[in-house]
Symmetry: C2
Subunit: 236 residues, 2 copies
């Protein structure tokens, strides 16, 4: 019997686990001994707040490289081949969604190891839900280019795609560039295009605002500075 690879969603910030994790997710994560993690420090912080069954120092924490070799993956997945369950954990949110970890999951499938995704918070999903935009057709693009000209072109291309495919477009930005991104959006996109910005999702400081680009021009945007945020756009 091989073990299972559980995909364990991490918190999106410092909140009590029952706020965002079902009891089952917590129960499974509390008893896993073998972990494959993005970064040890946030992984240990998560396991501490979860109140694991065993002392954290006695758990087997291995980090996965950004580009793991087949040998790396075989070693990481060895406990599952020996019949033990493994937890895959990233620094925030869901492994493999706007987050690393997909190569480990792919290798598990390839090795015939069962993969079980657990329920927890995903900023992409929560932002899409809260946007009230088209959730029957949507696309997530990760980060857009940083240089102003390339960013403007990318934003206009997304707006054109949204119109052509009647689709919602989502992307993220490094928090310290949120205000520059908001300025670029209000300067580049059409007045009737809808923009929803969702920041600090699931935290006490959560802000979710949605309005047409023309109306965003009349609102101060400094309050989004340096907060993890999702941008959701739909051509009006």
């Amino acid at each position: 019997m091989t073990g299972t690879v559980y995909l364990v969603p991490n918190l999106l910030g410092a909140v009590p686990p029952p706020r965002v994790l079902p009891q089952r997710t917590q129960d499974i994560a509390r008893t896993i001994v073998h972990w494959i993690v993005e970064t040890p420090k946030p992984a240990r912080a998560f396991l501490k707040v979860l109140d694991t069954a065993r002392p954290i120092a006695s758990l087997d924490l291995r980090t996965f490289p950004a580009v793991p070799t087949p040998a790396d993956l075989a070693l990481l997945l060895a406990p599952a081949r020996d019949g033990r369950d493994i937890g895959l954990l990233t620094d925030a949110g869901c492994p493999g969604v706007a987050d690393p970890g997909a190569t480990v999951i792919a290798a598990a499938h390839h090795a015939g190891i069962r993969v079980v995704p657990l329920v927890g918070p995903s900023a992409v999903l929560l932002a899409l839900m809260a946007s009230g935009m088209n959730g029957q057709r949507f696309a997530f693009h990760g980060y857009l280019p940083v240089k102003p000209d390339a960013r403007t072109s990318a934003l206009r291309a997304l707006e054109a795609d949204s119109r052509a495919h009647r689709r919602t477009e989502l992307f993220i930005e490094t928090p310290y560039r949120n205000v520059a991104m908001l300025e670029a959006i209000t300067q580049s996109l059409k007045p009737a295009t809808l923009l929803c910005v969702a920041a600090d999702l699931t935290l006490e400081t959560e802000i979710i605002e949605r309005r047409a680009v023309s109306a965003w021009r009349d609102h101060a945007i400094g309050r989004f500075a340096r907060r993890p945020a999702l941008f959701v756009v739909e051509a009006g």
Copy 2:
């Protein structure tokens, strides 16, 4: 003070709520009196299993029309304007994501009513996580065309898009057409293209399988018949 519109994820099948809903989601949903729901019967079944604070018969359940008028929306959101919280609930999964409800959410934003998305199960998100495919760039397409020729064209277009944009493509199918869809995929797509099928997500009967299209041809696919499923494709 206006109330808040809480977006309450529903179960994906008959499972105990702690399996997929955080305590906070359950606590908030248990005390909400005013509900906007997709269909009354599954809404009542959900509220019953949640064990609401008040008898279900005393709750205010209103259904939202497929295409609500501004007057419908004003009426649905009236409790929030009177300072009361509202729960928005669909028949399964997350309101507004591969599910109706977006027009209600949009109207809440428009009326200046706070929108709070709660954490819960989303088949789209769980399937993407579990696929081990590219979660930095992905697109969800809802249902593909039903007629064989149009379906084949749509599948090939998705495969070409996946290759061109280095993106994961997700779609759904009515459960009784799953096997026909699987046959169409294995007949239409390139042998090296990756396909993950995730059925009965979060249920005891959950199945998640991922392999190249060429390898799917050697596997019986009847076991996916009549189960709610997500299809996840990445050009190999």
